[in-house]
Symmetry: D2
């Protein structure tokens, strides 16, 4: 349906990076630029760059998109406020999609959380997230997104268990009842497919700072 | 805050009936009419009637409110379509509030379910409910309410365990992720408190068929 | 079945204390000694003392049992190592039952945890506990008991939600699977009933330091 | 560590079959015999046969192992009593490992269930299982294994959601508490790795009917 994309991938050797490469390859897109701890491979100038690496790589990624003048999809978690400032600044010139979670279900969970927050005023709130033992940041970026929607400081419990792809729960508790909203990723492939959808979206944009929610809208 | 209510209770010896009597008594309301398997006690004409009994008692309850010309709060589960027809017919003359669940959280869960249903088109849906071993109907009235919101036939799993007051979960599943919304009643008192709120609402009405959602609005 | 017990209660105004008084009263036992933040009531010398208060009250409780020469059932959580030392010391002369949790299910959960620990060597372990917003200690005493069974330092996540009586989960995670064992108290009455069973057990003992597991054996 | 195995696979195009082929290939074993809905491929006589297909294929599989005189690992679910009889009969001559679930965690769950059953006499029991929407049998073979351990008829709730690899829960409920034991497969690869372990076990055996528990012992 969509044309073949020549894309670049930062963090291609990581867990998510490998899934992204697989999903894009199955859809006949071509990896023409690759940057990871194993070095840089530059076959052609990419039409867009996807970053699934770590926050410390961000300056390098920004240098790449400035050089190539192409859109950026950033899936790195654990970004600082100054990282966000840099991404927003570059988005005046080039399109940037940033999300800590590229699954449809998490976007719906965020909307449900917003609705629940309004209706359950005064209830206690607890966020819990479980991820694989290799995850570097704590709490997860998605837990921070949920916390942002709640608009106040909420206790976040972080569990690290085997290779759990990612579970998130927001629980609201009153004297007499508990309401909770949960999301469970069944595999990292889900996130790679969301990034794939995002590529189709961003490739036609000129500039601007977008969320995955904009992609789905 | 609100004036002392002289109320009637149908099903006063049941689990929920006893909780209702306790909550109303703590708030200085007076039980003046009582109908249960142990017989009828009529001290005074009640200002409203609460029915926490079983579907087969409904004709008796309707006879009472027609005799007394008072509002009805009905919390009985397992009602048939003809039961609903009778309640709606009487509501042309007298105010009736009907709900299978008088907790705030379940009302919010129903709204969240409606939103999720719209956004997760094509996902598999499963409803699960757990209740105490003494519960007579299966599936629970609340599970039926959730099913109605979904607007289509959905598989409902019913568990009967010890004296669980009432758990409900709706799970939406896709290839890659599961989103779920859960409610857990911590005690039956929650429902009695919802019925208490409903009494404050219904006592000023002249006629009409209301849901617990109308009470909370 | 068992004879009427004249018992003493330390912490009679607390959540658990009130449940204990109710269960004992339903079984025709008599509260003859009562110590709480509201003061001391001494009708008669009790045959045993139950302490459901706070760690800071322990010296007072020990003084009582030394004065009366009677058994102690201690249900206080958050005890320090020196508190335990004091209890063990007094148990040379008088019988003491100590547990952070007087439910049957938690005793079984501890045994299952022990078995799982042996068979799932090298798996990640996470403990989660949820309790009512009024709970003073964190993590719960029961979570500490679970941690002790595991015999090593384990991450404990503590959630505080409405008036949840007490949930505990131990999750074991490997690359490919997660096994978990969970307990949920449906009401505080469960604990009061366990304390009641313990009273029947301890009243015949001369001295010694016992766990609730000894009571059930 | 172990020598290169030339193996045969029945049901090679199914979900589990593909995972098995991948795990064996990563470990340098060679698929020399392949039977599926797409036909039969016979490069060499295999040293053992793995069947991940459907019950109706069993006669064919038995014919293969009788022809080749090799061990069988059977992972097919939904077997009938006569299927079991046939497998046991052939196991007098050739080694057979049969399990409805080749994960370590499920073996531990079965042992925990056995212990819990003994200690929680008289408690209500409920089994729940969730699997992907493509699963053909209901309830799952693993749920039946759990039911067998319990030694009595227990209600089993079956949920079908997206591509959930496999969740199982046994809940025990009393008046006051609920204890539950849960297992969640994070991917089908877990089962393929269990089958791989089983291959190392069975290749040295002469005859006999074995369970996956025997493999792990």
């Amino acid at each position: 349906l969509i044309k073949k994309i020549k894309y670049g991938l930062v963090g291609s050797t990581g867990r998510l990076g490998r899934e992204v490469a697989e999903v894009f390859s199955e859809n006949d897109h071509e990896l023409v630029f690759d940057y990871s701890i194993e070095g840089e491979t530059r076959k052609e100038i990419p039409e867009l760059i996807i970053d699934c690496s770590l926050p410390q790589v961000l300056p390098k990624t920004i240098a790449f998109i400035e050089e190539f003048k192409v859109p950026l999809i950033i899936a790195t978690t654990g970004l600082s406020e100054s990282d966000f400032a840099r991404l927003k600044s570059i988005s005046a010139k080039l399109p940037v999609v940033q999300s800590y979670n590229y699954s449809i279900g998490i976007q719906v969970l965020l909307k449900l959380t917003e609705m629940a927050k309004e209706k359950l005023n005064g209830w206690d709130i607890e966020i819990t997230e479980s991820h694989h033992r290799f995850k570097k940041d704590k709490p997860s970026g998605t837990a921070k997104m949920i916390s942002n929607v709640l608009g106040k400081k909420v206790n976040i419990s972080s569990l690290r268990l085997g290779n759990v792809p990612g579970d998130h729960t927001i629980a609201f508790g009153a004297l007499g009842e508990v309401l909770s909203i949960s999301h469970r990723a069944l595999s990292r492939r889900t996130f790679a497919e969301g990034i794939y959808k995002t590529a189709e979206f961003i490739i036609t944009k000129k500039s601007g700072f977008y969320s995955f929610n904009d992609v789905l809208a």
